[in-house]
Each structure stands twice: as structure tokens, then as C-alpha cells.
């Protein structure tokens, strides 16, 4: 059964139609990636899944429940956590406090083991435990954003451009960790990326978005081999 099912979703910003009828699904245990150019509507789709902005037409089902009219915080309490665009960590709080914030709606009895799990995935965060989050490097902040999302015990993890502004080596580390989270922690991942090469290599399946429409879909390997994808997103840039 599909974990997240998006059916004919349209989203508007005022009069501008950002999503023009999107259909896609994410199955349990998968890593699904959505690639596309700037302004294609990738972040809008991810945020629409979270309820801000809300879809004006269509349905979004999470484990069979329609979430398209629910407020953001309720959706996030169902087991969807995200590492939002621009990371949005709390810069003046310490790493530890940021992770505490991630677990704020969770039962405190899980806290210690979850913290240990996050520190296993990102040993760097443990070294920085009492540092102000805003003073860390971009890569560390991204790790924190993912770690904070994991503290909310998600079944579905939404990642919005985790590679943005990071050095290639760090990007590789982050993607390896995402794979590990998916494989070992059994978290389904929906990844929005501009870094098409890495994202498609990692993903089980992928979608390509152009101007608010899904134009292509397939397994990661298929899309990587697709000449259109190669021409538009892979060659020249990498």
C-alpha cells in the first residue's frame, strides 16, 4: 500500500497556479525523489503535503487518511517530519535543544534512545552538543535539521534540498546517511532535490517536475539513463 498518495493536487499562490494537477505516490520503505529546475514547484509540492499552503483541489492521503485539509502541526503529528527548505534550525539554541525541540510532541520515554540513534547517524552532532546551532557549518546544520526531524519519530521523512550550498564531500555523506536512515531505521523518504545525479542514484523511484507538472517518472536508474533527463539535469552541470 502506498504510504503517501497525491491525487490531482492543484495549489495556488494567489492567482498563480504553482501545481497543476499532480499525481504521485510514495510506497512504504521507499526513497522517492522529485527533481526539477528552480521554480518548477518542488518545494510547493512538499509543503502542500505538510498543509502549508493547502491544496485547493485534489486529495493527499497519508496511510489512507485524507490530510489535505488538516493544519500543518496536526499533519506533522501523524508521523510526517520534514527537514524544510533552508534547514530552519533554531540558530540561537544549542544542538541539544534543537534535538529536544524535534521530540517535543513525543513521549519523553523514547528521548534517550532516539538521541543515541541520531548521534550514531551523525557523530558530529554529538561533538557539538552544546554549541549554538547558528554557529555551525552548513553541513552540520543540515545534519541537525535531519536529526531534529528524526527525533519526531517519523514514518515518512520529507527532505527539501538537503544538498543546497554544501561541499560535494558533505553532500555525499548526507546522502549516504539518508540511505542508512531508510535502510536501517525503516523510514520512508521523500526527497526533493536539484542535485539530480546524486538523488537519482540514491532513489528507488523518481519523478521529474517541470512548471508544476510531473513530466516523467520511473526508477532511479531508468531516469538516470533517460536522454531527456540527462540533457536537462545531468550534463553540463556535473
Amino acid at each position: 500500500m502506498s504510504m503517501l498518495k497525491i491525487e490531482g493536487v492543484h495549489t495556488f499562490y494567489g492567482n498563480i497556479e504553482a501545481l497543476k494537477g499532480i499525481d504521485m505516490e510514495v510506497n512504504e520503505g521507499e526513497i522517492v525523489t522529485l527533481i526539477g529546475a528552480n521554480g518548477a514547484g518542488k518545494t510547493t509540492l512538499l509543503m502542500t503535503c505538510c498543509g502549508s499552503p493547502q491544496a485547493s483541489k485534489g486529495r493527499i492521503l497519508f496511510e489512507g487518511q485524507d490530510i489535505s485539509r488538516m493544519p500543518m502541526h496536526e499533519i506533522c503529528n501523524l508521523g510526517i517530519q520534514q527537514s524544510p527548505e533552508g534547514r530552519r534550525i533554531f540558530p540561537r539554541m544549542s544542538v541539544y535543544e534543537n534535538l529536544q525541540m524535534g521530540a517535543i510532541t513525543q513521549d519523553p520515554k523514547h528521548f534517550d534512545s532516539d538521541l543515541e540513534m541520531v548521534f550514531d547517524l551523525f557523530p558530529r552532532l554529538k561533538e557539538r552538543i552544546s554549541q549554538r546551532a547558528g554557529t555551525m557549518s552548513g553541513g552540520e546544520q543540515q545534519m541537525l535539521a535531519i536529526g531534529r526531524a528524526l527525533m519526531g519519530r517519523p514514518r515518512l521523512l520529507l527532505l527539501d534540498e538537503p544538498s543546497l550550498g554544501l561541499a560535494p564531500l558533505v553532500v555525499k555523506q548526507i546522502f549516504e546517511t539518508v540511505e542508512k536512515i531508510n535502510r536501517e531505521n525503516k523510514v520512508t523518504v521523500f526527497l526533493v532535490e536539484q542535485n539530480a545525479f546524486h538523488a537519482l542514484k540514491l532513489a528507488h523511484r523518481g519523478y521529474v517536475m517541470v512548471n508544476g507538472n510531473i513530466t516523467l517518472s520511473g526508477t532511479g536508474a531508468e531516469l538516470l539513463a533517460n536522454p531527456e533527463v540527462r540533457a536537462a539535469y545531468l550534463e553540463g552541470g556535473h
Partner: protein, 506 residues
Amino acid sequence: MSSAFASTRTNGSEVVKELAFFAVVALLMSVMILGVETVDRPTGLELAVRWDLVLIAIGSTVVGRFALIMRREGMSRIVQALLITVTAVAVFEMFVRFRDMDDRWASPVVLDMAFGSVLSTVVAIAFVAIVFAIAYFSMKEKGAVEVDESAKLSSKIQLVYRSNTKKIGLVGIIFFIIFPFLFGENRSAIDLATLVMIYIMLGWGLNIVVGLAGLLDLGYVAFYAVGAYSYALLSQNFDLSFWLCLPLAGIFAASFGIILGFPVLRLRGDYLAIVTLGFGEIIRVVLINWYDLTGGPDGISSIERPSFFGLADFSRRVPEGSVAFSDLFGMDYSSMHRLIFLYYLILALALVTNFVTMRLRKLPIGRAWEALREDEIACRSLGINPTNTKLSAFAIGAMFGGFAGAFFATRQGFISPESFTFLESAVILAIVVLGGMGSQIGVVLAAIVMIGFPEMFRELAEYRMLIFGAGIVAIMLWRPRGLLSFRDPTILLNMSQKEKVAGELK
């Protein structure tokens, strides 16, 4: 002189030009403001010209400017400090003359003081010496390494403060507890301390809303008013005791916080500030116009004073059926007993406010307030309901405002809408901002500075506002984020907890 300027960029004629320019500016500015006054003569109002003031204004401007040039050119500190002292004395002279409208042409005030009594001589010399000392020591020799001494000092103070917050807090609490024993017979000292304590409590209450949750509330006085009127009306109409009304006043104020908060908390920043400002005014206008209930601008008078926890009464003539406080403890009657009791009451209320705030900060709700202040979208994505979180901050802040209001009503015995103007909100907000948002000890310092000092120096009359303005400017320059503006980077607050976490993970 010429040799002094030889090594510098500016030559003598440029300096003269610059000074002349500033003299003209000073003339233009002072001639209408200082130079002309209307005098009430038997023949009617007449214009009198006061060239002495204009001359002093121009003179002090020129000398002050010359001091700045000297500084720019790197002249010796003594020369600079001398010039600045002359400027300061001239400005002082100008203000005194401006206030005394007699014609004092010949004798400068400072000289008068110096040759008056022994005391005034000492004061005059001290004044000049202090100005000179400040000028001398705040100067830097040009070319000296630009180590900002004041920054170094302030970071040292910060370090001491940070590592000893708890001790400082404890010393402060002990000081405030023994305060009545130190000043027990001094009525005005106790009164002033009580007033400062009210504002400390209000500051702490508003700190929850502004400092922790980051919601700019310009109408906090509304909740103060709700608390005060709740107590006054309940006590007058239903004859309820203070001890029963105190929690009720808090509940009423909190409900008003929720009523206001519900529609407006979707607003942010400036918009929220304007709406809360409006709410504060609405409450005040209602209080003025609802004559039947609130007595309108006449206010409510002879509000019942609190008893000693319902056990004893503080009045000299004790009503039938109750015990006098002095009899209860076998002491002689003193009117100070009530004042000291009121002082301890507000101290206790304020400490409760502080304690609750400190506790809440460590709980998820307090953490959520702080997170909300930093990033609302991130909070929502973590599953925090922003509306409820903001409402809770608003309601709890309002509740403490209500407690303080009830105390205010019982202390004054008289309340009217006059006491709840926008200025009060502004003062409370200024205390929070001046103290450094979210800093509890900062609020205490700021309340002492904002409320205590102006009262202590009441004799200085209008000069207080001058000093106040200068103080605000100084804060803007040197501590733009408040007196004690730093959030402890981790609210692990106690280190042992952190070590525990780190230890378990090793």
C-alpha cells in the same frame, strides 16, 4: 599650535573655518530657542532677549567642536579633557540660566558655587573634577592600539554574570528580603521599593510574552487594569476579601488575554503591536466611559486594604470582631507594619512570577515559546500548535499582570483610568527591552534604573528626563540588545544533566 598641526592633515585655517561654521549653526539654532523669551510685565507680555544664553550656546559648541578636532588630530589627552570640561561647565551654566529667569550677566553659576559656602565649593570642584576625569579616561591617544577597553570590560562582566547567575539572583533575593530591616523606619524607601517591585513583577510578566514568546505587546497595561478593577469591583460590590480576589483577578486577566489573543495572534510583529496597543486603549476608554460600573474618570476609592492573611487587621482602629496585627504579635501599633507587609506581599508575588517563569522555561511549553520566537514555520513542522502556544504565553503573562493589578489596587486604595495609560505599557516594555529580552535579572536592573532612579532623584525635576534621554542614547550605543542581553546558549541550565547525557552516550 602650528607645530602641533604640522604633523596632521588639517591646517589652521581649515580649523578656523570649521569652527566658524559650527558657531553659525549654533547661533541659528539657539537664537530662537534660547535667545528670546516672553516675559509677563505689568504692561502685558513682552519679548526679552537673552544674549547670554546664545553666547554660552555658541561658546560651548565651538569649544566642544574644538575638542573633537583635537581628538581627531590626536592631541594630548589633557588638552582634550580640559576642552571637554569647559564645554560641560558651559552647558551646565546654560541650563541653570535657562531655568532661572533672572538676569545673571556677570557671575557664572559655577563661580558662584565655588565662592559660596564650603559645601557648594566642594560640589563645584567635584563636578569639574568628575567631568575632567571622565573626559580624560575615556579619551584614547591617537595611534594607540585600538583595543576597545569598554568592550573588554563588558565581556568580562558578562562572563562573571554568566557563571554566577544563580549566586547573583540569590544575593538579590536576600537583599530584597532584608531591605525593610535596613530601611525599616524610612517610609519613602519602603514605598519606593514597593513601587519598583511592582514594576519588576510587571516586567517579569511581560517578559514571558515579549522576551520568551517574542510577541510584541504594547497593551500590557490592559491586563494590569483588568486585575486592578477586578479586585476593586469584587471587593466593593461583593465584599470579597483580597485573598479571594487575588486569584480571581489573575483568572480574569488571563481570560482577557485569551479573548484578545484568539483573534489577533495570527498577526505578527508590527501588526500585533498595533492591535495590542489598540486593545490597551479600548480597555482604558471603556473604564472611563462605563460610569455606572467603574465610576468613570472618578475612579474607585477607599478600596479595602489587605488583612494579614485574614487573621489580623492593620488599622489603628480595628473593626468589631477582628484582631489588630500589633496585638496578634504583641507589638506596639505602627503604621509601618502595613507598608512592610505590602512590601513583602509584592516581593512574594514577584518571586512567584519569577519562579514560575524559570520553571516554564525548562518545560516543553517554555521551550516551544522560545522556538516560536525564532522560527514559526519550523515549529509548525515539528508539530507545535502555534496558536495554542502563543495563547498560553499571552494568558500566563496577562495573569501575572492581573495579580500585579490587584496588588496595585489594594496598595493605593484608589484606582482610576489615569493609572493605566499607554505610557505605563511603554515603561513596562522599556524595562523588558532595557533589561535584555528574556533576562530575569536584567528586568530587575532595568526596573531599578527606570523606576527607582527617577524617584530617587525627584529633586532634579526636569533634568531627570535629560539624563534619562542621555541614558537611552548610551544604551543604544553600547548595549543595543539590553543591559544583560544574552541567552544562555543551552537551557540544559544545570550542567550535570548535560554531562549525564554525554556520559550515557560514551
